[in-house]
């Protein structure tokens, strides 16, 4: 992932290295200007959009840009298969033969169970399907009422789960629900 300098304001543009997808070391990163390192408050310069937000949180030495990049790197490394493959089997020749026999036997057991389970599920599914088809032929009204599903909505997505300590950003006056936002955009 190559992160370009161009979206940074000129006074913050400094030498950055390439960012590798395998999550390797984040080389030199942008160092922001002097900031007060008091634990209570940190001026978090969000230079990308130019707005300043005063947030209560841990001190950040590298600044917001570096943290964002590191987060991206972490997320990418979670997705990629690097260093997450199973280990190569290292065994003596005789042990390998024994392993092969045991492995094949176990795979056979697993395969039998899997095939049996699949067949069972298939039978159940087709029984249900044929029953529904027959119901549809018998009565459309009964079929449709049988196909109704209960609403899966329980709580709104935006509701906050209560936590022990308060959030970093306590109140966002500018937040609008997605529905409201859409309506606002449509009328504006």
């Amino acid at each position: 992932m190559i992160v370009s300098n161009n979206f940074l304001p000129r006074f913050l543009r400094k030498q950055t290295q390439l960012l590798f997808e395998n999550g390797s070391i984040l080389r030199m990163a942008n160092v922001t200007g002097p900031s007060t390192f008091s634990p209570r408050s940190t001026v978090d310069m969000k230079s990308a959009n130019g707005s300043l937000t005063f947030t209560r949180g841990k001190r950040s030495r590298g600044g917001g840009e570096l943290q964002q990049k590191q987060k991206m790197v972490n997320m990418l490394s979670l997705i990629s298969p690097r260093r997450k493959q199973p280990q190569r089997i290292k065994m003596a020749y005789e042990d390998l033969l024994r392993h092969r026999t045991v492995h094949r036997a176990w795979q056979l057991v697993v395969r039998t169970k899997r095939v049996e389970r699949r067949l069972e599920l298939q039978k159940q599914y087709y029984k249900m399907k044929h029953a529904c088809d027959e119901l549809r032929k018998a009565s459309q009204f009964l079929y449709e009422s049988a196909m109704e599903r209960p609403s899966s909505i329980r709580f709104p997505m935006e509701y906050r789960i209560p936590t022990l300590s308060p959030p970093r950003r306590i109140w966002d006056a500018t937040w609008r629900s997605p529905v409201e936002e859409k309506q606002r955009r449509r009328t504006a």
Partner: protein
């Protein structure tokens, strides 16, 4: 039970499918046995058992077959000689000399080494013994009159008897239609590919031209012409089936003149070593 005893095509197909099923069962009966695997790995097994045939084929398919097809396609041996290949046998090739290893396909050899006729090994994965034909051609001989390349014939060995347990080609029992002509590439004509094609003879009979009904009669003399050889016509005229291939490469080197002298092949052309693509433009 011969296939020819069953007159009906459907019954023949059914019999074939049944035999395939039986072979599968025979393989499955033995394949889990570690003793069998050990015998295979240590090399003391008989190809009459379906398990070992299966394991040998599996081993070949995993690596050597892939390598062969990769080389044949990348070096464009496949469209330049025969149109394509569905490999059925494991073909191996080596030249007698000091260090006799089976060469990997497409290897650049010295003309001194290739002056001797090569040794072949054809590993089949079936029980029956069959007859095979080996043909060596060079598709890269310059044809100055037509400003293109032509195919030269270097070797034909027919009626090679091969069985599963005896893969090495025994030239004494075979019939050498065309004696071996050593590679003698001309200077600055680049690397020539020497393709070895292994054909299966129909019905295990001796190699003979099959005159087809309804098609033009084939001129037998013109088929085996060394200078301008048409391998596709050769294959179709004799009713052969391409089951294996291999190739090596030769370029003009320090031993080529010696080979020409020894075998009386004449001096050979020397082509210009082209340095620039459009030399004419540069000159002006």
């Amino acid at each position: 039970m011969q296939d020819r005893d069953i007159p009906d095509q459907k019954s023949r197909a059914d019999a074939y499918l049944a035999s395939v099923e039986i072979e599968k069962l025979r393989i499955n009966a033995e394949i889990s046995n570690p003793e069998v695997i050990h015998q295979f790995n240590s090399g003391n097994f008989d190809m009459k058992f379906p398990v070992y045939r299966f394991l040998a084929q599996q081993r070949w398919e995993k690596n050597d077959r892939l390598l062969l097809m990769d080389r044949l396609e990348n070096m464009k041996v496949i469209p330049d000689t025969m149109p394509t290949l569905y490999p059925r046998v494991d073909t191996k090739l080596r030249f007698p000399g000091r260090s006799t290893h089976w060469i990997d396909p497409g290897r650049i050899m010295s003309t001194g080494v290739t002056a001797q006729a090569p040794e072949f090994s054809i590993q089949i994965f079936e029980d029956a013994a069959k007859l095979y034909t080996i043909v060596i051609v060079d598709p890269d001989t310059p044809d100055i009159e037509s400003d293109t390349y032509k195919t030269t014939l270097h070797y034909i060995l027919a009626d090679v008897r091969i069985s599963g347990n005896e893969p090495l080609v025994d030239k004494a029992t075979a019939r050498e239609l065309i004696p071996y002509l050593p590679p003698h590439p001309e200077k600055n004509s680049g690397y020539h590919r020497y393709a070895v094609w292994v054909f299966e003879q129909p019905d295990g009979e001796r190699l003979a031209v099959q005159q087809r009904k309804g098609k033009d009669p084939v001129n037998v003399e013109s088929l085996l012409e060394r200078d301008r050889f048409d391998i596709r016509l050769f294959r179709s005229a004799h009713g052969l089936k391409a089951v294996g291939a291999h190739f090596w490469r030769n370029g003009y080197d320090s031993m080529t003149e010696g080979v020409r002298e020894k075998f009386g092949l004449g001096p050979g052309n020397v082509y210009t070593h082209k340095r620039f693509q459009h030399y004419e433009d540069y000159r002006e």
